[in-house]
């Protein structure tokens, strides 16, 4: 393979991986953030304890989290194919990523919100803040640095999932590593894709940490 083709291949793979990762993360947060908040709010020490909801939602989250991503993807493949028309490629993988990642995101969000000082929540309640105001103005804002750090971890995890999905014809860099690096015995391509993945992870980690530190007013 000449350099031009290789670069084109890697370029396409990187773009696909980024799309899967970023769209996957975004949608996972659209689901996982409210679920994570709801787990905190309805928990035994929450501002509006709802035992049955908390138990059921906690159970669903745990069940999905305990399934390894590859197994989950294979198990859901038929349904994904039915819904979006295909079981392979970038969008099918993205759908599988979201299915696997939202419970993970929910737990990350829950962990971050647990760090918020209960005393501050109590102060807001004493001031006559509604539960919605407490969620928006206290929980999410006070936990912002931790949430951003969590988002970096979640993005990197989802990037890892997307690479794994490559083995099932999922597209992206993982797909290239398997098809060229593994099946066609081209270790150079294997190592180049690994390098690209490492660089992507580094960039995401840096952005996450820097942003979290910048947004944290406890540190300056």
């Amino acid at each position: 393979m000449d350099t031009h083709t290789l670069l084109q291949l890697l370029g396409e793979g990187t773009v696909q991986t980024l799309i899967m990762t970023l769209v996957g993360t975004l949608v996972s947060y659209l689901i996982g953030l409210p679920v994570g908040v709801s787990l905190i709010v309805t928990g035994p020490n929450g501002i509006k304890p709802v035992g049955w909801y908390n138990k059921i939602m906690g159970f669903i989250v745990n069940v999905i989290r305990s399934m390894p991503f590859l197994i989950l993807m294979i198990a859901f493949m038929p349904y994904i194919r039915k819904i979006i028309g295909t079981g392979i490629g970038t969008w099918a993988t993205t759908a599988a990523l979201i299915l696997a990642a939202w419970p993970f995101v929910a737990r990350m969000v829950e962990q971050s919100l647990l760090e918020v000082d209960p005393g501050v929540v109590e102060a807001a309640q004493a001031m006559g803040a509604s539960n919605m105001q407490i969620i928006r103005k206290v929980l999410l804002l006070e936990a912002r640095p931790s949430l951003l750090n969590g988002a970096a971890v979640a993005t990197i995890t989802i990037l890892g999932y997307s690479a794994m999905a490559g083995t099932l014809g999922g597209g992206g860099l993982g797909d290239i590593a398997i098809r060229y690096g593994h099946y066609r015995f081209q270790p150079t391509i294997m190592w180049i894709t690994i390098l690209v993945l490492v660089v992507l992870v580094q960039i995401m980690q840096e952005i996450g940490v820097k942003l979290a530190a910048k947004m944290d007013n406890r540190l300056n």
Partner: protein, 348 residues
């Protein structure tokens, strides 16, 4: 009849724990008048924090009623309760400021909650920073402020909603003595100048002495004694009150073993009796010495009170004469039982 801004009627609070039911508050009846600076003092675990939290219903009482300004708070829906809570501010031992907002942002918080227009809120918040002497720290974050400064921000935040009452939950317990004095001074000023009622939860007698006109002593979830601070200081009736009002330090921590414990009395001198050297005269007139165990000058709000623990003559006859002498001179005193550090309960 004086107006009761806060009224607790038969308030009982039980907690379900693994070890069974724990009764934190037992049938509390408490009326607080407008403009009072009402202290609630007790040792840790007595239930005072639970008590103050029932006033704004952060703790729902198991039984009983809570009234604010004549209106029933218990049983209100969350919307109405939130509206009432804006008139009952609260400050805390750990300040409980939003760490991600600067001083000004923290003071703006209750204004945002109450929906005060964005055009008016910052001006009001800045004014309040002036009231607490922190104009120059408007854009400092809590992590950049000292404990005393944080509590000042919390006080400004408490004032933002124009409250009728401020609940102070151990507000100075995390502060050093000097900062404590300045915070108590600020709270006193707010009580005096703005007429805001204070409910002051503390385990420290000094706080009551400096800040409160009335006090309730709470022990094991019950109010065992209450009244004007001046009166209770003179003649604490219950052991719980004596434990708190009696001199701190060695006298309380270690029972006296080196001196006689017979015929001990605790005297309180006020303005009327402080001018005359009564004890010296008594010794000379009766020709019998006394042993001084403790003496101190206390400041109660605006007034000063001398407190003294004496060991009178060992024989009963002379001791009785000495007591007669003190009574004749109008010195308030209570007798301290031989085997008791704090003296006998006075039957009310």
């Amino acid at each position: 009849m004086a107006e009761h801004i806060i009224s607790l009627q038969g308030v009982t609070k039980e907690f379900d724990t693994k070890g069974g039911k724990v009764v934190a508050l037992k049938d509390i009846n408490l009326d607080i008048e407008k403009g009072d600076s009402y202290g609630i003092i007790g040792l840790s675990g007595a239930g005072k924090s639970t008590l103050v939290r029932t006033i704004n219903l952060l703790e729902q009482p198991t039984e009983g009623k809570v009234l604010f300004d004549g209106n029933l708070l218990t049983g209100l829906g969350s919307k109405e309760l939130n509206l009432s809570r804006r008139k009952i501010s609260m400050i805390f031992q750990q300040f409980n400021l939003l760490m991600q907002r600067d001083a000004l942002g923290n003071i703006l918080f209750p204004l945002e909650i109450a929906g005060v227009p964005k055009a008016e809120a910052p001006e009001k918040a800045k004014e309040l920073l002036k009231v607490v002497d922190l104009e120059d720290r408007a854009h400092s974050y809590p992590s950049q402020l000292s404990g005393g400064q944080k509590q000042r921000v919390a006080i400004a935040r408490a004032l933002a909603s124009d409250p009728e009452v401020i609940l102070c939950d151990e507000a100075t317990s995390a502060l050093d003595p000097k900062t404590t004095r300045s915070i108590l001074g600020l709270l006193h000023k707010i009580n005096e100048e703005r007429g805001i009622t204070l409910v002051v939860i503390t385990h420290e007698m000094e706080v009551i002495k400096q800040l409160c006109n009335k006090v309730a002593v709470i022990e094991n979830g019950e109010i065992v004694e209450r009244g004007e601070v001046q009166e209770i200081f003179k003649k604490p009736k219950t052991k719980a009150a004596r434990k708190l009002f009696f001199p701190d330090g060695d006298y309380r921590e270690k029972p006296l073993t080196k001196t006689s414990t017979k015929n001990r009395v605790r005297l309180v001198f006020d303005e009327a009796t402080a001018g005359e050297p009564i004890i010296a005269n008594m010794i000379m007139e009766l020709g019998a010495p006394v042993n001084f165990l403790y003496a101190n000058l206390d400041v109660l709000g605006e007034s000063q009170k001398g407190q003294m623990v004496l060991c009178l003559a060992a024989d009963k006859e002379t001791a009785d004469k000495q007591k007669e002498y003190l009574k004749a001179k109008n010195v308030e005193f209570i007798e301290i039982d031989e085997d008791d550090e704090y003296g006998e309960e006075v039957k009310a």
